[in-house]
């Protein structure tokens, strides 16, 4: 693999991972709030 390939692999996992975690966090938070509203 070339240097550019390693750079791409590093950024894809880090930036992609950040985006994935943020998206998952939103989904978990939204579902927790929905459950809260239903409980009330």
């Amino acid at each position: 693999m070339t240097d550019a390939g390693y750079v791409l692999a590093a950024y894809a996992v880090i930036i992609g991972g950040l985006a994935l975690y943020t998206g998952t966090l939103w989904r978990r938070l939204r579902s927790a709030r929905r459950r809260d509203d239903e409980a009330r």
């Binding site: 390693y6 750079v7 590093a10 950024y11 996992v13 880090i14 950040l18 966090l25 938070l29 927790a32």
Partner: protein
């Protein structure tokens, strides 16, 4: 609303610094394009330290004040810290292969102590799942979080204390920050990435803390339900 604005600012900053690091900063004279990995790698390592430092401080706070909100902060920081530690390790491996010739070397103290850091905090998160009692869980987690934080200075100073493949600290002493040996665009991009990632960390911390509070409230509601059902059954008898 303010958190949403913070999220948008963090997103814009991360996109901007990533574009600068990939397309504006020139390749390093010695390491070529591979050096571009330094920016998110160093920022991820910094946020791993910060997260686990917050986990330890919030753990001390819980043991002192017995306020479950502090345990929620510790939990949020640990989860986010695990993610950033994994990013730091991944970035380091992708940088190490073209520069050192290997992805990983167990003899290197920085690499090994960082792997230990990841294992310690994955263990911290697993430990939290062992009990449903919020207070017992918070106490156990606080003790583990405080003990595990001992590894943070060991990771940081491992490159000074022992010999290995890993270079010495990128940002070592304050005088190196004020008089950097590297050209301004490299240093500026590094600090820009640190700032952008730290804003993102702050945003994620707020959201993860909100989730931890919602989970605590749900647990509490479930406990009250169980108590009420038991009481109703007792009265009916």
């Amino acid at each position: 609303m303010k958190t949403r604005v913070l999220g948008l600012v963090a997103l814009t900053a991360v996109v901007a610094v990533t574009l600068v690091a990939l397309f504006v900063v020139p390749p390093d004279r010695n390491q070529g394009d591979a050096q571009r990995i330094m920016y998110p790698h160093v920022a991820s390592a910094w946020l791993a330290y910060l997260s686990f430092g917050v986990t330890a401080l919030a753990g001390i706070g819980w043991l002192w004040k017995r306020d479950l909100r502090l345990d929620a902060v510790a939990h949020a920081a640990a989860e986010i810290g695990v993610m950033f530690t994994a990013f730091a390790i991944w970035g380091g491996m992708m940088w190490g292969r073209p520069i050192w010739g290997v992805f990983w070397q167990w003899e290197d103290p920085r690499l090994t102590t960082t792997a230990l850091l990841l294992a310690l905090y994955v263990g911290y998160l697993l430990l939290r799942r062992l009990t449903d009692d919020p207070e017992r869980r918070a106490t156990r987690a606080a003790i583990v979080g405080i003990v595990a934080a001992i590894d943070i200075p060991i990771v940081h100073f491992s490159v000074e204390w022992w010999r290995g493949l890993h270079q010495t600290a990128t940002i070592g002493s304050p005088d190196r920050v004020l008089n950097p040996a590297a050209p301004g665009i490299f240093v500026g991009t590094l600090f820009g990435t640190l700032a952008a990632f730290t804003l993102t960390w702050l945003y994620l911390m707020i959201r993860r803390y909100q989730l931890a509070r919602a989970e605590l409230a749900r647990e509490e509601a479930r406990r009250i339900d169980v108590l009420m059902s038991a009481r109703t059954a007792e009265v009916a008898r």
